[in-house]
Every structure is written in structure tokens, then in C-alpha cells.
């Protein structure tokens, strides 16, 4: 198996302390980066083929380079630690077990984009990760790593999934309702508090110190042609050893399930969600795909946040969709019409089908409604919901029809 990069310190019980982090070579990358020109750091990250690990998979270095060069006011770095994608629990491990890796990544990223004030938006339910990270930030201040060119403000969320969407997060951070912002302008031009802002995921920034320390070529070499590095997969559901696993982005889904001990329950695989709740579902014979951004895109789904949810033969796909549909109806922020109205509508229809009161045209209505709403909204939330709506029904239509009287 590939090298362990992100979880390298996890086995040390004191990994969250500055001393342990330093003992493992921590902050050496920062020492190196502070000798580098900001543009050179961005260039290194570009060459490393690092792509955002929060969900969208956007090239990180490219994102950094969008900050206007002639801007004279503040530039903000915002860390998205509002990990809320169903089936995803990797960032909480990083915050709990290697908080200094994030701080070091932030220091380097902040230098690259000339930022002096940064925000870490932590999911409200993440109490222990927040404690660990807050303690690490204090240590970093005490050690003079922070407060000498970079300040970190920690902000806790209040439990809304939409606040993990980068501009919803910015609205929330600004003290407003967590509504995503219309684009353009994009955050790199006008983000938090109206200033150019980079929003990066926790895991993404944790990749930055190793890139600086060991070089872009090494990192790029860990992955595929279009995406460098390893990443953390949250594997859950019907596997024998559900956990977070680190592997190259070039690992196949089949290999990953084996890594997690294989299918549990009936032992026979039915389906897998490869990239968090918003990813389209894959059937048992679609799992020979590589787990990089482009590999899953070509398979008609997405890597998203790499939350892998495994379903064995005993799982009811209609029920699984109902749970997800309820989630999207509950979490839709309600700002724009197609998402606000159809998430609730689709949930009602799926619920009614599972309840045994489906109409024969319900499935076609759901598919049509989902497709009509796709691509019409302010943010990607609804497109994320459409993935499961369509794929669950199209790939397991018979299971749904079996529940509908006179279908």
C-alpha cells in the first residue's frame, strides 16, 4: 500500500501536542516555506496536483492564484472544518489527532496568499475536535508560531449542513443566516466580509506541509496523472472494519473495501456510495474504479468527500434513499426555489413509496423533477441531492417498483 502521509502521527497518543508534532519533524515545512516567495509556494502546490479534498476537487494551487494581485486590503484564509457530508468523518480525526498539521498548513497557505487573519469554521457537533484544535492553537500562539504574521479565529457552527458549502459558510461566519451567496463574485474576489478569501478543507491544508517538505514531485507521484497524493477515506456501513483509511487516490473502490475487511452482513455486496451522501450510487459490479476525482467522474459519480458507504444485499435501497431524501429536505437552506421546494416534494414521494402508497408515475415524477431542478440553483447542494435521487432509482428501479401497488 501507498505511503501514509496524513495519518502519519495518528498512532502516537500525544500526537495532538506541539511537542509530539515537533518531534515528528513538524513545522519544518513552515520553516522552509517562510524562506520561499509566496508565488513559489503556490507554484509548488500546483505542481503537486493537490486537489481540494472537501468535495469539489478543485485544484488548490489554482484556487490560491485567483486572489487579485493588486488587492491592497485584507485577504482571508478560511478553513472549512464543517464536515457534514453524510458518511464522512476524516476531518474530525485530523482535528483531534493532528491539529498542528492543520495549523502548519494554514501558516504556509496564508503566506502563499498573503493572508494575516484566518478563520477555522468547525462543525458545531465536533466538540472534542474543537477542544483539541483550540488547545493546539493556544500552544502555537505560546510558541510564537501564531500571532506573528498570522492570527487564527476559531468559529463553531450551529449544526446546519449548508454551512459546509463554502459561501454558506462565509455567510454564517459573517453572522448571517447560512445562505450560500450568488456567484459571481467568487470568494477569491469577494468572500468573507467582502474581501478576497480562500476557503480550503482541513485535509487539503494538511497536505500542504508534506508537499513543501518533500517536494511537489514526490506528492504528485503518490497519485494519478491529474491528482497527487493520498487521501483519507471514511469507510462505513456493511464492512467488517469501518474506519478512516489512508490510501493513494489511485486505489480502486474494490481494494478499499478489502482494506476495510470486506463486506459484512450477508457478505454479498449490493451497492456502494463512493463519495459521501451526495455521490451517485454504484452497483456491486461498478467498483473497479479508481478513487481519484476524475476516475469517479468518469464512472458517473464523484469522489466528493471520500465518504464510502457500503451496502450489502440486506439493505433496502428505497429506504436508503428515503433517509437521504429526508436529510436533503431537512438541510436545504430554502434560499432558492427549485431546491427548497423539490427536496421536500421528493422526500414526500419517496416516503410514500416506502410506506406502500406509491403511485405508478411517482418514480418518473421524481426523476423528472430531479432533472429539471439540476443546475438551476445558487449552490451545489441540490445537484448533490440529485445524484442519489436519480442513481438510486435508475439503478435499482425494480426495488422501488416492487413497493408500489399496481406498478
Amino acid at each position: 500500500m501507498a505511503e501514509i502521509v496524513l495519518m502519519r502521527n495518528f498512532s502516537n497518543p500525544d500526537s495532538h501536542t506541539l511537542a509530539a508534532y515537533r518531534a515528528g519533524g513538524g513545522y519544518a515545512a513552515w520553516d522552509k516555506a517562510r524562506q520561499m516567495e509566496p508565488a513559489a509556494i503556490t507554484e509548488e502546490v500546483k505542481k503537486a496536483n493537490l486537489r481540494g479534498l472537501g468535495g469539489a476537487g478543485f485544484p488548490t494551487g489554482t484556487k490560491w492564484s485567483f486572489i487579485p494581485k493588486n488587492h491592497t486590503g485584507p485577504v482571508y484564509l478560511v478553513v472549512n472544518a464543517d464536515e457534514g457530508e453524510p458518511g464522512t468523518f476524516k476531518d474530525r480525526y485530523l482535528l483531534e489527532r493532528d491539529p498542528h498539521a492543520l495549523i502548519e498548513g494554514m501558516l504556509i497557505a496564508a503566506r502563499a496568499v498573503r493572508c494575516t487573519k484566518s478563520f477555522v469554521y468547525i462543525r458545531g457537533e465536533y466538540v472534542e475536535p474543537w477542544r483539541r484544535f483550540s488547545a493546539a492553537v493556544k500552544q502555537a500562539y505560546d510558541a510564537g508560531l501564531l500571532g506573528q504574521g498570522l492570527d487564527i479565529v476559531i468559529h463553531r457552527g450551529a449544526g446546519a449542513y449548508i454551512c459546509g458549502e463554502e459561501t454558506g459558510l462565509l455567510s454564517s461566519l459573517e453572522g448571517k443566516k447560512g445562505w450560500p451567496k450568488i456567484k459571481p463574485p467568487f470568494p477569491a474576489i469577494k468572500g468573507a466580509f467582502g474581501q478576497p478569501t480562500i476557503v480550503n478543507n482541513v485535509e487539503t491544508l494538511c497536505c500542504v506541509p508534506p508537499i513543501v517538505a518533500r517536494g511537489a514531485e514526490w506528492f504528485a507521484g503518490l497519485g494519478t496523472k491529474t491528482q497527487g497524493g493520498t487521501r483519507m477515506y471514511s469507510v462505513s456501513g456493511r464492512v467488517k472494519k469501518p474506519a478512516v483509511y489512508e490510501a493513494s487516490v489511485s486505489i480502486t473502490l474494490r481494494q478499499l473495501i478489502e482494506m476495510a475487511g470486506g463486506v459484512s452482513g450477508t457478505g454479498r455486496l449490493k451497492a456502494v456510495v463512493p463519495g459521501g451522501g451526495s455521490a451517485a450510487i454504484l452497483t456491486a459490479d461498478e467498483i473497479d474504479v479508481t478513487m481519484d476525482v476524475d476516475g469517479l467522474k468518469n464512472a458517473g459519480t464523484m469522489i466528493g468527500s471520500a465518504g464510502v458507504m457500503v451496502m450489502d444485499e440486506s439493505v433496502s435501497i428505497p429506504e436508503a434513499l428515503m433517509v437521504l431524501a429526508r436529510f436533503y429536505a431537512h438541510e436545504s437552506c430554502g434560499q432558492c426555489t427549485p431546491c427548497r421546494e423539490s427536496t421536500g416534494w421528493i422526500y414526500k414521494m419517496v416516503h410514500r413509496i416506502v410506506d406502500g402508497h406509491g403511485h405508478k408515475d411517482d418514480l418518473d415524477t421524481i426523476l423528472d423533477v430531479a432533472k429539471r431542478g439540476a443546475g438551476t440553483t445558487i449552490c451545489a447542494f441540490y445537484d448533490g441531492a440529485v445524484g442519489p435521487y436519480i442513481s438510486y432509482i435508475e439503478k435499482f428501479r425494480g426495488e422501488f417498483e416492487a413497493l408500489i401497488p399496481h406498478a
Binding site: 446546519a160 449548508i162 443566516k177 450568488i182 459571481p184 429536505a329 431537512h330 438541510e331 436545504s332 437552506c333 430554502g334 434560499q335 432558492c336 426555489t337 427549485p338 427548497r340 421546494e341 423539490s342 427536496t343 421536500g344 416534494w345 414526500k348 414521494m349 410514500r352 403511485h359 408515475d361 415524477t365 423533477v369 429539471r372 431542478g373 443546475g375 438551476t376 440553483t377 445558487i378
Partner: protein, 544 residues
Amino acid sequence: MPKLTINGKEVEVPAGTNLIEAARIAGFEVPHYCYHPSLSIAGQCRLCMVDIEKTPRPTIGCNTVATEGMVVNTETDRVRETRKSIMEFHLINHPLDCPVCDQAGECWLQIYYMKHGLYDPRMKDEKVHKPKAVPLGPHVMLDAERCILCSRCVRYCDEITHTGELGIFERGDHSEIGLFPGRELDNKYSANVVDICPVGALTDRDFRFQVRVWYLDTAKSVCPGCARGCNIDVHVNRRRPHHAEGRRVARLKPRFNAEVNTWWLCDAGRYGFGFVDAPDRLAVPAQREGGTSTDATWEQGIAAVAGALRRLPPAQIGVIASPKMANEDLFALRRLLDLRGVTQVAGQVSPRVPGDEDDFLIRADKNPNSLGAELLGFGADARTVIEAAGQRRLKFLWVFGHDLLAGALPERDVLEALRVVDTVVFTGSNVNWTSAHSHWVLPATAWTEREGTYTNFEGRVQRFRTAIEPLGQALPEWDIIGRVMTLLGESLQATRAEHLFRQLVEAVPAFAGLSYQLLGDTGHMLATAEASGRRGAGPSGAAS
């Protein structure tokens, strides 16, 4: 000035114009709910989709700025399909209670469904239920089920009145408009949210359930509530007089005028029309003798006034005109007074307490035509006339509109004046203390019952038009004055207000060059005001 092509038509638009406005300039309508030209861009309703060449899918027009060479199509098949879908989404949880909804007939859900929806309904499930008939403040009622969450009202309270009473609470399809805790929608401009609400979610508590909107007739007018002269439409109910217990004026709506009030109207002005159909309207001429009032004919009333004017030396005649009178009335009065050489003339009765004023629309001067009155020689305070009367120098006093006791004039002086003057004539639309103590009452029309012009504080002369017939035998002031002149052997040579306006333009240099045609729907500045740079101040705080 970028040049772009919309539906095959090349059009040049000001830099920064969005595609909804650009299409409007090119003559095409892009349907929309949340976009409003005075408010920030929300991009929430998703209805204003247009196709832009080389973009993968339809884009919202409100948040897209027209650029040079852009090729836009507002009517492609996929744009039409997207609109249809968006209409379905807007309506799945809507109660479809049009038969009992006040907005019916002027509802953009109805209009756009007919134009852009026309799908077969597919929603079989229980709709989301939300609060209904929630009073948000003194003037506005909320039905959250009808709301399409366009957020116009929220943005209005944030960006125009800066009062921030409203927010959107809850999430998803349970989202609803509401008040922040402890707040009430009671700012001075609160009812504008009813106008900008595209659906029946926010209705006017004064208007609701009075009359269906399709029975309303409308006339372009000007608010007489203060010196701003906000442009309005007067909506009247003539066709179903039994529906609103005889109330003829159903409501006032602001009418766009970039130079005066943009889209807005204050609540005081909007609800200031109650006097028009009030029970205390004066409807027939009346004579009071020895404490009892008896109805009289116009011939008797006019004869009494003309008789006094003919008989008495000018020094014994006093007139208190009103800055609530139209320019045409004041000009007619000016002619009459000049004919007789009357000089004991005033126009203003100062209020006891200064009027409410702000830095947006509301002016402290609660008269619509103070500047016009001043220009026609009626700017003086009534105090001197009252003093003359109290000193028994006047035998005849003609008061227009004012209640002399309601203002800052000393009560004792007024009582004394009215006691000692032989003949007090009151001309106005409603009963007040002064009318009750006059010897003659000659009823005047309300401003909705006639046409004329007011000159606002900036020097903008604006027309108001007839919305309803005069109540009873009431006449416009200029007509009353004209009849008096006829008895005095002089003709006003006017059978309508416009004739007087033409004479006024010839006679008074400040009005030179103006005509009803030039005033049009939005008025025109006085020549003098234009020269002295009064022009173009516009309402502060509003985009125009």
C-alpha cells in the same frame, strides 16, 4: 455602453445593466420574482433564466451584467422549459386559494402561470402548512403559505428603510417570512412591502376584503399629504359600490417617478385618503343662521359671496386660501381678488407642532402646494387676516379648507374673529370647527374628484387627475370662484382646470413654458426652479 444582441435584436445599454433590464430596453420581458430594480440582487427565485451564447446552461438574468458582444436569447426551448419547471416549484406548496386571496387579479403567480407555466399539476402530497393571517404591523398582513420567499420585503426593510424588522426563519420548504422577536413592521414606509410582494403573502390590512381588484378603476394622481408630492395611482371602486360600504377610494398605490418618490410612498400618505369618503364630507351648500344650518342652493351661496364682494370695500374683505388648493384654484382666486382689489389675503396656517420630517420622502410641510401658493401670492400667514378681523376691520371672511382652530393661531383671536365678522364663508371638503362656525358653507371636491396641479417643494409641477365623481354637489374651488366672478360680471373663461393652467402659464413667469402636455405623468420643473438649481434632488436613500 456595451452593445449586445437579445433575441436577434441589437441593443446598446448603459454599462452595468443586467440582462433583465437590457431585455426590457430591447423590448422583451424576462419574468422574475425576486429581482427588483431598487433592491440588491438575491438570485433566489431562479425564474429569470436566459440563454447566453457559449454557456452550458441557462443563466439568471438578474445577476448577469450585459457585456459587449454578448448574444442572449430569452425564448429558447430550454429557457421555456426551465421557466415552466420553476413555476411548478413555486406553486407546489402554494395553497391555490385565489378565490379568497386579495392578490387575485394582480398576482404574479397567476400571471406567470398562464404565461410560462401551464403544466399539468403533479403534486399529490400534503402541502406544507404555515401561519396564515398574521398581522405584521398596523398595515400589513402575512399569509406565509402564499409566500414564495423572494425576500423582497426583507431586503426592502434592510436596504430602503434600514429598519430590519423582517427575516426568513426556518429552513427548506418550512422557510417563512417573519418578524424578529419583539419587532413590529411599523416603520413609516411599511406598506410598500405589500406593493413589492409579487404574490398574496403580504396584503394591505386596510384594503383586504374591500373589493376585488378587477372592479377597480385607476387614475394617475399625486399624494396631497405633504410637499413632496409622491406620484400615486388612485384606485377607486365604482363598479361594485355595495362591496365596501360606500367607500369609493379603495387604496392609493405609489407610482414610479425617478425624480420624486421612485417606487415608494409613506404610510401616512398612503392611508391619508379617508376624508374623501368620510361621513363628515360636505356635500351641499348650506347656510347657518342663529345656530341652525339649512341646506341651500349653489345659486344662493354664490349670490351671497358675490353680493358681499360687490357691496363691500376691498379693505373689509379677507381671504384665507390654502396651500392644499391646486394651482388652478389659486390662480382663479388670484384673478377674483385682483378684480376686486382685495389685499387682506393669506394662505398659511402654521401647525401647532412642526410636521414630521425625515431624510427620505416625508416633508414637514404637510401641504401639497405651498410653493404654488407662494408663487401666486398666498404665502402669508393667516395671523394678519385674523388680527384684522378681530379688530373689526373685516366684514367678510372667506376661508378655504383650513380649520383655523387646528393650527398655531391663538384660539382667542380666532374665536373673536369669527364672532365679529358679518359673513364667514367656508369652502372645503369636510366638516371642521371652522365650517361649523361659518355663515355659509360651500362644499369643495376632494382632490380625487377633480383635476389640477400641485407644485412640490422642489418646484416640480405635477398633475393629478379625476378618479371619481364629486360627492353630492361639491365643486372644485376654481369652479366656485368662477361662478362668483360670473355674478360679478367677469368670466373666468375656463370650463376645466387646464384652461386656467394655460392662463396661469401666461400670467405667472415662474410657470412659463409649462402645459398639461409637458407635465405628462411625471411633472415638470418650474422655469425658475430649474434655473435656481432646485431640480433633481430626488428622494435621498433610494436608487433612481
